[in-house]
């Protein structure tokens, strides 16, 4: 009884003492914990530091410049000194002759890209995964992602030459087959096809890498178990490979939707011409023409901000939807 009492006092006292010295000890222990961790993971931290700095410098600091979308920006007055104009630039954009066309073109290009461009790397990865010959697999893989390293300028140059009605290889083949040659680059109906097909050709190998990585993380025991149960290769793909890939596919899909309003600006500039404006003119070259070349920075950043906001809304809503339906989400 007495002992218990003493113990209680002691423990109380101990608790009290700890409370008195608490913050100091906590800080000290936290510090030493931090130091130990830094010492242990110093290379990892160094590694992650570069991307963090990159995002701060190139993606977060410039965000404050977005406020010029609501101002009448003048270089000498600076960003803070320029007068506020509210939503004027947004109204002007939506009242301009081409706003609707620009938005429609971006969305359509991205929609087609999603429909055609998204599944191809997945299929390619699956097919590659079924290959048993290691050397052949590596060669196919390397060849498929080589185009990723060619600059857009060269790609478009090649496309123009291949599709030329004067001795372009594609038209030579069409003529050999007995059809009339097609003037691809001046036909609005061909623009989207060319844009998306070349994009797929350039990127499908590269994009398949991430799926291949995901595939390699699927437990081989699952396959063995399935084989013992008598599953064909087709069944194995349906019941093991695809479910194993699903999280990766969904995450990448969400990211892709978050880029719906973005289009490779360089490629459009290189590929479009007056004959195809109605399908090829999109927001980014418009921002470039009016904003940078015309010197209307506020207007251009308003248009660009609008673009990003739409992207953001799309990203958040698709993410939410996915979380509800599949329980897989970015956050």
């Amino acid at each position: 009884m007495f002992n218990k009492y003493v113990n209680n006092i002691a423990s109380n006292k101990y608790v009290n003492n700890k409370a008195a010295e608490g913050p100091l000890i906590k800080v000290q222990s936290a510090l030493s914990w931090l130091c130990r961790n830094i010492a242990r993971d110093k290379y990892l931290i160094l590694l992650v530091l570069f991307p963090v700095i990159y995002f701060i410098v190139f993606h977060y600091i410039p965000m404050y410049g977005v406020i010029i979308a609501f101002k009448d920006f003048s270089p000498s007055k600076g960003i803070l000194g320029s007068p506020w104009v509210g939503l004027r630039w947004f109204y002007e954009f939506f009242n301009s002759n081409y706003a609707f066309r620009l938005i429609r073109n971006v969305l359509l290009l991205n929609l087609y890209n999603l429909v055609w461009g998204f599944p191809i790397p997945i299929m390619f990865a699956l097919l590659l995964n079924e290959l048993k010959n290691g050397l052949f697999k590596r060669i196919v893989q390397t060849v498929s992602y080589l185009p990723h390293f060619i600059s857009v300028v060269v790609i478009v140059g090649m496309v123009v030459i291949f599709l030329s009605p004067y001795g372009g290889i594609i038209n030579v083949i069409i003529e050999k087959l007995g059809y009339k040659s097609i003037n691809f680059m001046s036909k609005p109906e061909w623009f989207r096809t060319i844009y998306i097909a070349t994009g797929i050709w350039q990127e499908f190998g590269w994009n398949s890498i991430i799926y291949l990585a995901a595939l390699s993380s699927i437990d081989p025991q699952l396959y063995e178990a399935a084989k013992i149960d008598g599953a064909s290769r087709w069944k194995q793909v349906i019941h093991i490979t695809l479910p194993g890939l699903a999280p990766t596919i969904i995450i990448l899909f969400i990211l892709q939707v978050g880029r719906m309003m973005k289009v490779g600006f360089e490629k459009i500039i290189l590929m479009y011409n007056p004959a195809t404006y109605e399908v090829s003119d999109v927001i980014s070259p418009y921002v470039y023409r009016v904003g940078l070349l015309g010197g209307e920075f506020s207007f251009a950043s308003a248009v660009d901000l609008f673009n990003s906001v739409i992207n953001f809304i799309l990203l958040v809503s698709v993410n939410k939807l996915s979380k509800k339906l599949t329980d897989i989400a970015l956050w």
Partner: protein, 466 residues
């Protein structure tokens, strides 16, 4: 240049294709500006913002060569003057360049000779010749692969055909004063429709390059060198390089020449526009520590006859020699080892750069017309050269009023004209096109253009021009 002026220059080099973008960004942030800037856009806005300094006092105090040049070319200071009456940049002048090596219709003379045709004079002649080029296999390879006429700069270059109808669609962009000095938009005239009908006829019969909407100068050159093209609209001096390159690829009798400017169906004689009176805009930035030195350097480099000579005909001993006081171009220029035309050859040793230049017909003539045939041809079209229309610099109000409208209108115009020419849009819709131009606000633009035109005329009077 450093040797003559005694000033060391630190060049800030940016790839030419990105120059405009880079410079705009630097100007808009207002930091990290070089002392001397080759301005990519109107200088007025940045001048008023205080990023670049006014030059009027400097011109008065130190503009030794500039004053002489302005006396000879009073239109030049008028063009440099902003609505506030302040000058923020210096430009060179190129009014005489076009006469000394003009832009115009080039044709394969050897093809004409082969098919026993004479040089085209009228629009109808052109049609017949292009048809003959298409059908009679002048390149002799047994295939109907000839491109009777090719182009450059996409559709815009085809607007030159309007010159045969008395229109100014290319360099003046359709804005041109009528004989009472009232600015018109010539795309609204019925003549413009006639031009497009003609071009559509050429295109639909396969006489115009099928890729006319997308051609760049590289593509044009490749068609010329592959011995496919029969004619083009280009600078006369291109003929030298084209002939050389064709010879290299084994076409020995290739003979590109400059031919007559076509006259139109309504009896109009035809003309060729100059590409603009002033060239380049150079300013001094607020960060310049010694504007006086910078200005005196510019004054010398742009306007002094010594510098003009150096920059036009190059270095004595390399690109030219002097015999009995006469400048003679060397073989480096005339028969360039790399097959370049005269201007390209000069450029390869550092002269003739894209920096304001005052061109004197005497010197440019020496360079570009070193070939007697060129000289004779240039002379024959000289009287058909007309100046492009010029306008005074935008005020802020004018800029906001017309800038985006103008961008939208030219986008729409290029799009529709391209469709009319390649037959995607039936020509019956022409009235819809002109109606749309009106509803997009062409009248407001015309009003602004009129005041700008009048303002420039009054400036010019002030400087004693006309």
């Amino acid at each position: 240049m450093e040797k003559i002026t005694g000033i060391k220059i630190k060049w800030d080099v940016v790839p030419s294709s990105q120059y405009k973008t880079v410079m705009q960004t630097r100007l808009s942030s207002g930091t990290n500006l070089p002392d001397i800037i080759d301005m990519p856009v109107d200088t007025y806005k940045y001048g008023k913002d205080g990023l670049i300094i006014p030059l009027d006092d400097l011109i008065k105090k130190y503009g030794f060569y500039a004053t002489i040049a302005f006396k000879k070319k009073p239109f030049l200071p008028a063009l440099m003057k902003t609505p506030d009456g302040v000058t923020y940049h210096l430009s060179g002048a190129r009014d005489e360049e076009i006469a000394a090596g003009p832009y115009g219709w080039l044709i394969r003379k050897d093809w004409l000779d082969k098919l026993k045709l004479s040089e085209p004079k009228t629009i109808d002649d052109w049609y017949n010749i292009l048809k003959a080029f298409k059908e009679n296999d002048p390149n002799g390879n047994g295939q109907p692969d000839e491109i009777p006429i090719t182009n450059n700069y996409g559709i815009a270059q085809m607007f030159n055909w309007g010159n045969a109808w008395g229109l100014h669609l290319r360099f003046s962009k359709g804005f041109y004063p009528d004989k009472d000095g009232k600015i018109q938009y010539e795309w609204l005239e019925p003549r413009a429709k006639e031009v497009i009908v003609f071009l559509n006829k050429l295109y639909s019969e396969g006489l115009y390059d099928k890729e006319c909407a997308i051609n760049t100068s590289e593509q044009q050159l490749s068609k010329v060198v592959r011995n496919l093209a029969g004619s083009a609209i280009e600078w006369q001096e291109s003929t030298t390089m084209w002939n050389n390159k064709l010879k290299e690829s084994g076409v020995n009798d290739a003979n590109w020449i400059m031919t007559n400017i076509p006259s139109g169906p309504n009896g109009y004689q035809g003309h060729i526009e100059t590409i603009g009176y002033a060239n380049g805009m150079v300013s001094i930035s607020k960060d310049c520590k010694n504007p006086e030195v910078a200005f005196r350097w510019l004054d010398f480099v742009i306007y002094s006859s010594e510098s003009v000579k150096l920059r036009t005909v190059g270095i004595e001993g390399i690109s030219y020699t002097v015999e009995n006081g006469e400048i003679k171009m060397t073989d480096f220029v005339l028969k360039n080892p790399d097959g370049l035309g005269p201007v390209e050859a000069i450029r390869s040793i550092g002269a003739w750069q894209y920096f304001p230049m005052v061109l004197s017909a005497e010197l440019t003539g020496k360079l570009k017309l070193s070939n007697p045939l060129h000289k004779e041809r240039a002379k024959s079209i000289e009287k058909q050269i007309v100046p492009r229309v010029e306008f005074a610099i935008n005020t802020d109000e004018e800029f906001t009023k017309i800038n985006r409208k103008l961008t939208d209108i030219s986008t729409y115009r290029d799009e529709m004209i391209t469709k009319f020419i390649i037959g995607e849009e039936p020509i019956e819709n022409w009235d819809k096109f002109t109606g749309m131009l009106k509803s997009m606000g062409i009248d407001e633009i015309l009003q602004v253009r009129q005041t700008q035109y009048d303002r420039l005329q009054s400036y010019a009077k002030e400087y004693g021009y006309r």
